[in-house]
Symmetry: C2
Subunit: 272 residues, 2 copies
Amino acid sequence: MYGIKILKIEKIKKIAKELENDKKELVIILVNPQLGHNIGSVARVMANFSLFSLRIIKPRSGWLNSEAYSSAAGASAILDNAGIFDDFKSAVSDLDFLYATTARRRDIIKEVLSPRSATKEIRGEINLGKKIGILFGGEKSGLSNDQLAYADKIITSPVNPNFASLNLAQAVNIFSYEYYVTGNFESLGRVTQSDKGRMEGLSNDKTKKANKEEYIHFIEFVEGALIETGFFDIPEKQKLMLNNIRSMFQRQNLTQKDIKILFGIFKHILNS
Amino acid sequence: MYGIKILKIEKIKKIAKELENDKKELVIILVNPQLGHNIGSVARVMANFSLFSLRIIKPRSGWLNSEAYSSAAGASAILDNAGIFDDFKSAVSDLDFLYATTARRRDIIKEVLSPRSATKEIRGEINLGKKIGILFGGEKSGLSNDQLAYADKIITSPVNPNFASLNLAQAVNIFSYEYYVTGNFESLGRVTQSDKGRMEGLSNDKTKKANKEEYIHFIEFVEGALIETGFFDIPEKQKLMLNNIRSMFQRQNLTQKDIKILFGIFKHILNS
């Protein structure tokens, strides 16, 4: 338990440090959120995807409760540093562009973008030094038409048309994930002193895919052993069966380590 | 309140119907999940992205509580129809391919894919009639190396390398969203009898972008009014200023409705 607590404090400090260094160009704005649990979850997904600037307009009183901190899971610095606003206009007035998220049709004329298209565009604007806000409506009824009217564009996700209402934190999650993917991330997953993250492909950097020479050496060993032990009882089928065996091993995408393991198994069986 | 309850029951029935029609080829598998709230949230995001087949291996006892149903928000049919398993092998034995999700390095040699690459591949396999399972580890410690060894491939998300642990429902959310995006969805957002969903572009189908004739008609009206009322006090600057005004309105991406509104405003001011 003690070890876990130390880890948690280290994690909180790390996120606080990242928050301090963040340029605050991309701001997540929650409008009238109701549940501490959801607001904490928003902080967690923001940290998951390296966003740190959170503003909250008229949250329900008492929102910053133990549930909020618990669901933030180490990203509490984002909650503690969130800007809290009483009115909509003062929360957005310093921004260059404002995007609003909604799943519903609005009788308002604005450009609609998917999260993927929007985040590509936003990444471009951020690179030009613009300050961007993304509006997310509260759990009860989303954004009002009055609030939407202030937005430059609308973001609407592809979603099951019969079950289109995303939980608040899930909506922020999809946006933040898509935005992160538009950046030049260097690896997948966690990075620590002992874990340098992965790229797509074989997951272990300690071993390599076997090359053709290693394959051939192994397959010829197996073939020789099978011939010697009388595996091919019908001689006219030997050539076909050998080719099937070669193909089977070739398909396996074996690593150098795999070949070693298989050598070990075959040699053990042959000697026993 | 009554209206809301009716709506909820209709929603529950709709999801139950979709679940019934689902071919169950893509199965979300939770391994040792702990919190009813998270499991309910998983059901909700599955319904959000049209996935309906859920299996749960050794959940903590008492997981199917009021929090689970509350966070499922209408997707309760997915919880009620979830397959509950006591052991890992019987939960996966009918599947053709098994993918495991993890953010951590494993000392195990498997191909690693991002959610985007994995879901494209999975969509292809589903189209060939394969049955696919996606493993998600529990809140405490994720998947064990023993469980990972049974998977064909690993899915690891791009994520803040210093804060890489996604909440269980958020991990399912990103996977399900990416899988949904690989399909041929017809529109963004909600679809109801009165709301037919949107594609990217201007959000209101009741009005169209103004064409050049409408633009020119409007701009010439404004120009005439400005000349008549003596707006251009320095004659040699009139041409430049007129071009600036034309460009400004041209940039606005105005709709036919916008032009009507602007006409109304200008005519009102000129007459008052």
